[in-house]
Symmetry: C2
Subunit: 343 residues, 2 copies
DNA sequence: GTCCGTGTCGAAAACGTTATCGATAACGAT
DNA sequence: ATCGTTATCGATAACGTTTTCGACACGGAC
């Protein structure tokens, strides 16, 4: 039906009565072709609707003017970054290619390296990798990592100040009077998750609250893996009165689980998230959370990449500040429940 | 620095002491290679960290197991669609490539066709195009269009019921008692914009309100282009008491412009949007809007595309229902302003 | 000892493009 | 009339794959 054969540079050459070399020249505006033939070729190109194949051009040449963004998926975090990158790239003459592996084997550890190897030979001039778990390796295009596994080392990186953000979040809860503050971690293999737990602990200590290992659980930054740990936490004999979740997706799930368990938020349980994805303001109650400047992180990452491509020397690591946004999911703890609650 | 040359199939062949043909066979698990050589080649592949080049493979073969999504940019609408597509593709063995042209020339009319031609030769097995303005054309891969220019004709399409959605939105305003209801249109070249105006007019008629051409303006579905028309509308001698904007981005901008002009929303001006992008709930006041099932639209589009690829016959056009979500940006009109307002 | 099948492998073409470089024609200068 | 210069153009190699097909060796069967 719609499947007509692709029109190639050869077709253009044939119907224009010139060689493929000449067609290539007029397309790329190289020197050495007369005005007359140039016009004729252009006419044929327009008539046939010819477009040069990105694939073939990539295979042959070295520059493609395309930069790739490797994302583990299109969850809110990646999406916000993409917007920042996209806005920044709009001012350049590069194009954007977002690539997300989806086969189970690819999603396993090492997906970044595999994808990168597949694309950089050479479909893309450079890449931005979101949440890479492997970051060393020898790539042969410039790469900037956002929120990487290993923290600032090796590749140029952009991330947010997770430790301080987590410290602020936990301190906020402590300041409201909470003493039993639980922590739901993120993927333990991620530097950001490690730093957030660090900030959580530091805040506890600074508030004079002893660290209780029983109040921390580990998730994986998304809803399904948070379920079990959340149930455990909320059905503890000595239930925590507050919860700090390592990212918004987990925190949002926490709100849901609390509701399923008959707990009121924030009266029975205060909840703080991390990221400030758009969704966090939509849940009921709207989430108190730590804002990561995702848009800006994306834009900065692109800027670093462009500098790399241009050969400009720059600081290899950029850490952007976070800020606490207080909404309605946090409140002072209820007074210790009397055996027979009065109405 | 990190720029080491790419390791090719030739390198593997050389160090393994076999031919490139043999390497290719073991990689693709073709018949005709002994267990011994296969093992040796696999060892070398692992040692050298070889990955087959997507570009070269695409150029040669016909299938790539990659489907492309062509988006005009990463604004909220495209992003929500992407999530739906991504979730659906995760259950298949395809991979996702989101492509967004960014050079000014590409963003001009016809970007879709150009991009498609560039990618389908053949980087991708099929494509989903978001908001294509040109939709006929002879592509040589299956394509599904979301919210296209020309409406359901030609290419398989997925869209939302814009006419009914707009009708409901306008009727909601009329039901609140508004008589002077302005309309800020979207890109006039888009079928969806046309249908929304149609719904707006039908609702006016059904409510017995005469259509006033002076109360409709045209925008382009995004903030910058909405500014002028919005100012005109809001500074009219006989100011409208309600505004229906053809998409949320315009509506959100309308809220801002109203505030700049000293108008209170919804007391002085009720505003309704279209799309229900996540941001619409974040503005102050939260936007009353028409929900498009964007996530579902993306998923359905992918499903159609997969059927096309598999050669399954299907209905070529899918129109999903919309629903009105009432939030705080709409209210009954204030009583006709008395010359000296009382407090 | 010859013949034929079977199993294993490699040479080479092809995909669509760009870059290099040699060939040809036109033309002014001697 | 011959030469050198310039402008224009085309043949061809190369990019990294996959696929086709022929070559070859090794068996066993006659």
């Amino acid at each position: 039906m719609q499947t007509s054969a692709r029109v190639t540079i050869g077709d253009v050459a044939r119907t224009a009565g010139v060689s493929v070399a000449t067609v290539s020249k007029v397309i790329n505006e190289r020197y050495g072709v007369s005005a007359a033939t140039s016009a004729k070729v252009k006419a044929v190109v327009a008539e046939l609707g010819y477009e040069t194949s990105l694939v073939a051009r990539s295979l042959r040449g070295s520059r493609t003017n395309v930069i790739g963004v490797l994302v583990p998926g299109f969850e809110p975090f990646s999406t916000e970054l993409l917007k920042g990158i996209s806005d920044a790239v709009a001012e350049t003459d590069y194009e954007l290619l977002a690539y997300s592996p989806s086969t189970p084997s690819d999603r396993a550890v090492g997906w970044e390296h595999r994808s990168l190897a597949r694309l950089s030979g050479t479909l893309i001039d450079g890449a931005i990798m979101v949440t890479p778990t492997i970051v060393g390796a020898d790539t042969h295009v410039p790469v900037v990592a956002i929120d990487p596994h290993t923290g600032p080392q090796g590749l140029p990186t952009v991330d947010a100040d997770s430790a301080t953000g987590a410290f602020d979040a936990t301190t906020h809860l402590a300041g409201l009077g909470h003493r039993r503050i639980a922590y739901l971690g993120g993927r333990p293999d991620l530097e950001s998750a490690r730093l957030r737990e660090e900030g959580y602990r530091a805040a506890l200590e600074s508030a004079g609250i002893p660290f209780d290992p029983d109040l921390t659980r580990v998730g994986a930054y998304h809803a399904p893996t948070a379920d079990g740990p959340l149930h455990e936490l909320m059905t503890l004999a000595d239930r925590p009165t507050a919860l700090f979740a390592a990212n918004d997706l987990s925190a949002i799930r926490a709100v849901e689980v609390a509701r399923e368990l008959g707990l009121r938020v924030p009266e029975d349980l205060s909840i703080v998230g991390f990221d400030n994805v758009p969704e966090s303001a939509l849940v009921d109650p709207p989430l108190t959370t730590v804002q990561q400047p995702m848009h800006q992180m994306g834009a900065e990452a692109l800027r670093m990449l462009l500098d790399l491509l241009a050969g400009v020397e720059r600081d290899a690591h950029l850490r952007l500040p976070t800020s606490l946004v207080v909404r309605a999911s946090t409140a002072p703890p209820a007074p210790p429940a009397p055996p027979a609650p009065s109405l």
